[in-house]
């Protein structure tokens, strides 16, 4: 059952526009000119309950504007949005109690106070009793591996600790719909991993619907089975991530280290040999023949090391957008 339905959604911003220079500045003072910028252009998609969807695209593609419209922060210019049966722009209290928006570059924690103060305020705002709030804080803190950090001023925490505290503050009311706008932005590899693990756990435990934007493709590939690719406000692709990678990256690179130099003549009809450097060879194999080629190599050669190199998701998305634009 669809938890989020977006139909013909558009957002056009009216932005002041002027040329540089003093005369242009004076002219602009008396006769202000505006430019209409289409941030989101007639997009439609549906997301089921409990699904994690990656929402990807370049900077300025319209990802954040879409998220803002989905959570009711920004009024759409056109189109229909329904989230958990509510119309976000009406900003119904019951709707706001079911959603959350986490922004990697912005925070709701009070900078000079420990996170626990913000958590207490949020618990009261969502009508959670003190006893229940303590239980939830303990539960989420243990999932996020947060302890004493909750009692130290936010300004003294590391970026990773702040982000985890931010997630805790955003999830204390156990929202069923999570809008995550680059939640791992600026975090180190370990902290990114912790956040991803936590989101996966939260999704499984509470059957939460998650719409995630991130420029780190590792976030997308490890959390999302489905992706929606947006470019210049329009949807370029909406479907399974594996289908996208197979479609745009039908070949795999395989790096093999043999015990002695090989010519690999017997493999030429199945793959392309791109490089042979003494006992190390690199070949390009069609995805459909990958398992056959790997088995063949293992059965017929003495192999010291074998690596199947995936095409980076960034390259695939870039390829998709380039193809679409052309």
């Amino acid at each position: 059952m669809s938890n989020i339905t977006v139909s013909s959604l558009s957002k056009i911003y009216k932005v002041p526009y002027r040329k540089p220079g003093i005369s242009a500045s004076i002219k602009h003072f008396f006769d202000r000119k505006y430019k209409l910028i289409t941030a989101v252009d007639d997009i439609s998609f549906k997301i089921d309950e409990g699904e994690i969807v990656g929402f990807i695209g370049a900077n300025g593609a319209g990802k954040t504007t879409t998220l803002k419209m989905l959570c009711g922060l920004v009024y759409p210019t056109k189109g229909i949005v329904s989230v958990s049966g509510f119309i976000p722009k009406e900003r119904n209290a019951a709707f706001l109690s079911q959603i959350t928006l986490v922004m990697g570059q912005k925070q709701q924690l009070i900078w000079d106070l420990p996170p626990i103060e913000t958590l207490k305020v949020n618990a009261a705002v969502y009508g959670i009793s003190e006893k229940e709030a303590k239980k939830r804080i303990d539960e989420l803190a243990s999932m996020l591996e947060l302890n004493d950090e909750l009692f130290q001023p936010v300004r003294k925490l590391s970026l990773g600790q702040r982000m985890k505290s931010e997630l805790l503050a955003s999830l204390i009311h156990r929202p069923s719909v999570l809008f995550l706008d680059e939640p791992t932005l600026g975090l180190d590899v370990n902290a990114q991993l912790r956040v991803r693990e936590f989101l996966s756990m939260y999704n499984k435990r509470f059957n939460a619907t998650i719409l995630l934007t991130s420029h780190y493709m590792q976030d997308i590939s490890s959390l999302c089975k489905r992706v929606v690719v947006i470019h210049k406000g329009r949807i370029f692709y909406d479907g399974a991530l594996t289908k996208l990678t197979n479609k745009l990256s039908p070949y795999r690179n395989v790096r093999i280290e043999f015990d002695k130099p090989q010519t690999l003549d017997d493999l030429k009809e199945y793959c392309e040999i791109t490089q042979i450097d003494y006992a190390i060879a690199t070949i390009v194999v069609p995805s459909s023949k990958l398992s056959f080629v790997v088995s063949y190599l293992l059965n017929n050669y003495t192999i010291k090391d074998l690596q199947v190199i995936e095409t980076p998701l960034e390259n695939i998305i870039s390829e998709l957008i380039r193809n679409g634009t052309n």
Binding site: Y13, K68, C71, G72, L73, V74, Y75, R91, A93, A94, L96, S97, I99, T100, L101, M103, K106, Q107, Q108, I110, D112, L113, E117, T118, K120, V121, N122, A123, A124, V125, Y126, G127
Partner: protein, 273 residues
């Protein structure tokens, strides 16, 4: 009927809990900024400067007023001003421009209460500093100490609180312009001129020409400084009429605030967030 009352009670209890939590966190935050608050308290000395000017002028006996009246009035005005300070336009504009407003808008309570509680918390933190300054004033200015009648001690805090609410609502309405214009804080300066001259901050309204005084009482400004100061200084015998006017202004401004909010939030573009 019974169910409605139960629902209302539940809502009131929930709201009380929220407001208490907001106030507690904001009070803790204000304690982090106590040095800044002490400076703000000291910077609110304008009424005392005006006291110096007025007691030295020939107007000191204007309309039968005397030195004691001016002393009590301006010291009262100093106290009233300390507890009616409002900076919501500036905070709201900053939050709007820097994207901090977005998380507030995503919670099932109006951001109005966050800013309101922040102001109340600041006032609570300011109390000891104001007492300290008052002791210095009483010691430094001749015949300046007085003990107001008991009913005045009870009613003055109410009048000051209502004055604060009126001023807060007035500023809130202007703060809503942030949704339409990036630099709405410049409008605060527009409010400053009528506030200075019609509220009784630079001179008691009793010293104004009759026509100007009458006109001033058709605006909310005299209820911000003049009325609470006159009440605290013991110059108003029957304050009921003034309280009624304060409540009427709160009612009118609340409606405008609500409409301005509804209209403004539609224009929110969540810039920077």
């Amino acid at each position: 009927m019974y169910i409605s009352l139960v629902k209302l009670k539940r809502k009131l209890v929930k709201f009380t809990n929220i407001f208490r939590a907001l106030l507690t966190s904001q009070y803790s935050l204000m304690h982090e900024y106590r040095a800044e608050i002490a400076l703000w308290a000291i910077s609110g000395l304008l009424p005392l400067i005006m006291l110096g000017i007025w007691t030295q002028s020939s107007f000191a006996n204007f309309n039968g007023s005397n030195y004691n009246f001016f002393v009590k009035y301006f010291i009262s005005a100093f106290i009233v001003r300390q507890f009616t300070a409002v900076w919501v336009i500036i905070s709201f504009e900053e939050d709007n421009l820097e994207g901090r407003l977005s998380p507030f808008l995503l919670q099932p309570i109006s951001p109005f209460w966050r800013y309101f509680s922040s102001h109340i918390a600041e006032q609570l933190t300011r109390i000891p500093f104001v007492f300290f300054i008052l002791i210095i004033i009483f010691l430094g200015i001749q015949d300046s100490f007085w003990i107001p009648p008991f009913h005045t001690i009870l009613l003055s805090p109410i009048a000051i609180f209502l004055a604060f609410v009126i001023r807060f609502l007035l500023h809130w309405i202007f703060a809503m312009c942030c949704f339409f214009n990036d630099k709405a804080s410049s409008l605060e300066r527009l409010l400053l001129i009528p506030y200075l001259f019609l509220s009784g901050l630079v001179a008691p309204l009793e010293t104004y020409p009759e026509i100007l005084r009458t006109a001033a009482y058709f605006t909310p400004f005299p209820y911000l400084i003049s009325f609470p100061s006159l009440l605290l200084s013991g110059s108003i015998v029957n304050p009921l009429n003034y309280f009624m006017h304060q409540l009427i202004w709160i009612f009118i401004l609340s409606i405008f605030s609500f409409c301005a909010w509804r209209l403004g939030v539609r224009h929110y573009s969540a810039m920077g967030a």
